[in-house]
């Protein structure tokens, strides 16, 4: 028998704890990705047939493109994390498995985002092709 009151047991649990923050972040990153997605597709098209290496290097040498690319990598990773988290929470019933998968998801996306950011910075600060 638990000595905790019914109120004590539910305080801090439930959707009100942090769900609105997740919801709001997902929308804000979505709006950002509308802009970043359009920019990225237009950039890809402008890089020309075969996406030559020199064109990519020249493209990311522009400070504007570099900042947009950094934003794209960071925001896309965050948005993916928010979305995949909901998918895993919905379909993985076992609490232990769910925790492991959610932590692995965060690790994978943070590592990938850092690799992408480092790549953009290396090109932006690297030698002109």
């Amino acid at each position: 028998m638990s000595l905790r009151s019914p109120l004590g047991r539910v305080l801090g649990l439930g959707s009100a704890r942090g769900g609105s923050g997740h919801w709001y972040s997902q929308r804000v990153t979505a709006v950002a990705l509308v802009i970043l997605g359009c920019w990225f597709m237009a950039s890809l098209a402008l890089l020309g047939a075969g996406v030559p290496h020199a064109a990519v290097i020249g493209w990311l040498h522009s400070p504007f493109s570099a900042v947009m690319a950094l934003l794209l990598v960071a925001v896309a990773a965050y948005h993916a994390q928010l979305g995949l988290r909901v998918v895993f929470e919905d379909y993985i019933g076992d609490k232990g498995t769910r925790l492991v998968v959610l932590v692995a998801l965060k690790f994978a996306l943070v590592v990938a985002a850092l690799i992408g950011i480092l790549a953009v910075l290396r090109i932006a600060f690297g030698a002109q092709a």
Binding site: G50, A76, A80, L84, G116, I123
Partner: protein, 131 residues
């Protein structure tokens, strides 16, 4: 003994319709786009590693299977983009009326196919094309 009329649980009554098709498609394309994120990072890292690595990465992305996945990625982008805008309007409280929801749903689905074709025509030669 006659079976009395009893209410059915909601999941017994739902029939498959356009709303849940579009809804699950949003989720599936979102998962696919997350995978595309890793492709984007792979591409950026290859570009940062020099022309030889970059050429090798493009060759990998140019294989028939990869090209098929990239088309899937373009469709995922187009659909998730358009249907995402639909979701943002819902979040703001607009577009819930059934005729409007049906119209925007069709617009998202057909628009996504059209945008995919346009993007593939624009990028098809670029994505996975030999350098």
């Amino acid at each position: 003994m006659a079976q009395p009329e009893r209410p059915l649980s909601p999941f017994m009554q739902y029939r498959w319709q356009y709303t849940n098709t579009l809804s699950i498609l949003h989720r599936i394309t979102g998962v696919l786009l997350s995978l595309c994120f890793f492709v984007l990072v792979y591409w950026l890292a290859a570009a940062a590693s020099g022309p030889e690595r970059y050429a090798a990465a493009l060759a990998t992305l140019g294989s028939p299977l990869a090209r098929l996945l990239l088309i899937g990625g373009l469709f995922s982008f187009s659909y998730h983009f358009l249907n995402g805008i639909r979701h943002l309007f819902w979040d703001a409280g607009y577009g819930f009326e059934l005729p409007i929801a049906r119209k925007t749903g069709w617009a998202a689905a057909i628009g996504a196919v059209m945008v995919t074709v346009v993007l593939w025509v624009m990028l098809g030669a670029s994505l996975g094309g030999a350098p």
